[in-house]
């Protein structure tokens, strides 16, 4: 009897140790980057040009990361939400629904480098080179099914009473969806968008062969054009992101060691902080929207 009790105590101890160990690793990783970037992480680094000073800035790369995120979401949020509406409100069991589900599952398991290859074969050719648009389309390939699932789940979570009440008042199905169901589902959808945004922001493998991996030297933000690849605002400009840059400077010796490590550390810290902000933001915003919608 004593032995089984001891075994229970030991097992409990081991499981606690594992949990503490894993959380400690995470904290160590976060602290490592925050501490190492304390001296370099400032506004001039974040917005400066890579050629600016001894340390170099990441302005254009930071800009590209945000640019790609925005363009990707512009593609996936409307399409994903519409797809989610279909799956939650219209779909019946059957071959079409099964094919959609199966495809969603399949895409989420395709390695991002393969999505990058697909983008290279299709989007790069279609947009005429390594462009922000090709990168955003590649990101959309695996973000779209995710968005669609999230929207579907959020819409499904809306109680049926709400639909019945709206239909009983004479509203059509579409009116019910757009004026009753969607507003209630929006907090869930927004939370989902922010959580997937973190993943888009950090993605690199799918972008190397689609958005490009060259080092931009200087962006002229004053020059606005949607077609000229020389304008940073154009979807056709080569758009190396922060994540890709971290990989790029570490796999090709284009920077002196000390600068390379300082830049990579600081850019990593920016990425990690962004992920933390996105995570906390998603929770906070989701809760706040919930309150406004339900009035509770």
């Amino acid at each position: 009897m004593n032995r089984t009790l001891n075994a229970d105590r030991i097992a409990t101890g081991v499981l606690w140790a594992i949990a503490v160990f894993v959380v400690a690793i995470l904290l160590a990783i976060i602290l490592n980057f925050v501490l190492k970037s304390l001296g370099t992480l400032n506004l001039s680094f974040l917005f400066g040009d890579p050629s600016d000073s001894a340390v170099g800035g990441i302005g254009p790369l930071f800009f590209n990361s945000i640019y790609l995120l925005v363009v990707t979401l512009l593609i996936t949020v409307p399409l994903g939400t519409l797809g989610g509406i279909y799956m939650a409100e219209y779909a019946h069991e059957g071959r079409v629904t099964n094919a959609i589900r199966f495809s969603q599952e399949l895409i989420s398991s395709v390695p991002s480098i393969v999505v990058g290859l697909f983008g290279l074969a299709l989007f790069v050719r279609a947009t005429g080179g390594y462009t922000a648009l090709a990168g955003a389309l590649a990101l959309a390939v695996f973000n779209l099914p995710l968005m669609s699932r999230l929207a579907e789940q959020a819409i499904r979570a809306v109680p049926d009473d709400e639909r019945a009440a709206s239909l009983a008042l004479g509203a059509t199905k579409w009116q019910t969806i757009t004026r009753v169901v969607l507003p209630i589902a929006i907090p869930g959808i927004v939370t989902g968008i922010i959580l997937t945004a973190g993943r888009i922001f950090g993605e690199a493998a799918a972008l190397i062969f689609t958005a490009g991996s060259s080092t931009p030297t200087h962006f002229d933000y004053g020059y606005f054009s949607l077609t000229d690849p020389r304008s940073p605002w154009s979807p056709f400009h080569t758009a190396t992101t922060m994540s890709v840059y971290i990989w790029h400077i570490n796999s090709e010796s284009i920077l002196p060691d000390s600068i390379r490590i300082a830049v990579a550390n600081t850019a990593s810290a920016v990425l990690i902080i962004t992920v933390l902000v996105f995570n906390l933001g998603a929770r906070g915003l989701g809760r706040a929207l919930q309150k406004r919608v339900t009035g509770a």
Binding site: V22, V23, G83, S109, P111, I177, A205
Partner: protein, 311 residues
């Protein structure tokens, strides 16, 4: 999937439906959006399938050569060998070792979260897992290349002469797949009915006996799925692995060696080759093999999941 069947408004005796209602534009528009993903999958399979087999059809490389252990794409034309065995075995090797490291930790953590953790501890571990998943892979890769590799090289010089190695790749990957396995395993554990737990405890078992003899067997299919999906992520991870693994195209024999994987092979050479080189075609073949490997894993996970659900 069960659609809400609300019969209101569809009663033909009360009113006829207008043309607009019959065509039901919203339904069609949302259907097109939903079906887009099927089209994307079809295009992806077609493009990777066609480009991935060009090496055999246009490049004239015999199919059997991919099982050769010699990778020598830079030799004079006619002398080149496109053996992909180092890449395939490298991917499998890195993935398996990563799973061996990560699986016990992840499943242990999942058990902790579902059975043992008091609320305050669960409030730390759950967000921690979300942040863990969110950290970009290049960040792990950079950390591996600048910290782990140095530690291995200077402290275990005998075993890791370069630092860049199979083991370094697996270790970095194990950290990356840990949250994946943990969250899926956790979901599998919490779906085990509470009656099984209380029944076991009521018979006088300790908590650990209950976990070992009741909980783990009941959740076995889910736990296996978790490990398989973790391995899937490990096999497909590109940049973090490429940054720490050393990228030497040899058939792996020792864990301290620099080796290569399918993903790192693609990232390494894609930019240095052009469309019509057989070398370039071989990289697409690697992509196709990678795709087929992941599809196999998905099917495996599905089958296990279904069998588990049937029990």
């Amino acid at each position: 999937m069960a659609n809400v069947a609300i019969p209101l408004g569809s009663n033909r005796l009360e009113r006829t439906r207008s043309i607009r209602e019959r065509i039901d534009i919203p339904r069609r528009v949302t259907l097109i959006a939903a079906i887009l993903v099927v089209l994307v999958v079809a295009l992806l399979l077609a493009f990777i399938g066609i480009r991935g087999t060009r090496m055999f059809f246009e490049g004239g490389v015999p199919l059997t050569q991919i099982f050769s252990a010699t990778w020598d794409p830079g030799a004079d034309p006619g002398q080149q060998t496109f053996g992909l065995l180092p890449f395939i075995l490298g991917t499998i090797g890195v993935m398996v070792v990563a799973a061996i490291i990560a699986a016990p930790l992840s499943i242990g953590l999942a058990i902790f979260m579902s059975e043992i953790a008091p609320d305050w501890a669960r409030n730390i571990t759950r967000p921690a897992m979300e942040v863990f998943v969110g950290i970009p892979s290049v960040v792990y890769g950079f950390l591996g290349a600048n910290v782990l590799v140095d530690v291995l090289r200077s402290n275990f010089h005998q075993q890791f002469p370069l630092g860049y190695s199979w083991f370094a790749g697996s270790l970095v990957l194990s950290i990356m797949i840990l949250p994946t396995i943990t969250s899926i395993a956790y979901d599998a554990l919490i779906t085990v009915p509470g009656e099984l737990r209380t029944g076991s405890l009521a018979l006088g078992t300790t908590r650990w006996q209950m976990i070992r003899h009741i909980l783990l067997p009941a959740a076995r299919a889910g736990l296996m799925t978790a490990v398989i999906l973790g391995m899937l992520r490990a096999a497909g991870e590109a940049l973090a692995v490429q940054m720490v693994i050393g990228n030497r195209a040899i058939v792996p024999t020792g864990i301290g060696q620099p080796i290569i994987t399918l993903t790192s092979g693609i990232t390494l050479d894609m930019g240095n080759t052009t469309d019509n080189q057989v070398w370039n075609m071989a990289l697409w073949t690697m992509g196709l093999i990678l795709l087929l490997m992941s599809l196999t894993f998905v099917f495996l996970a599905r089958r296990i999941g279904r069998r588990g659900a049937a029990i």
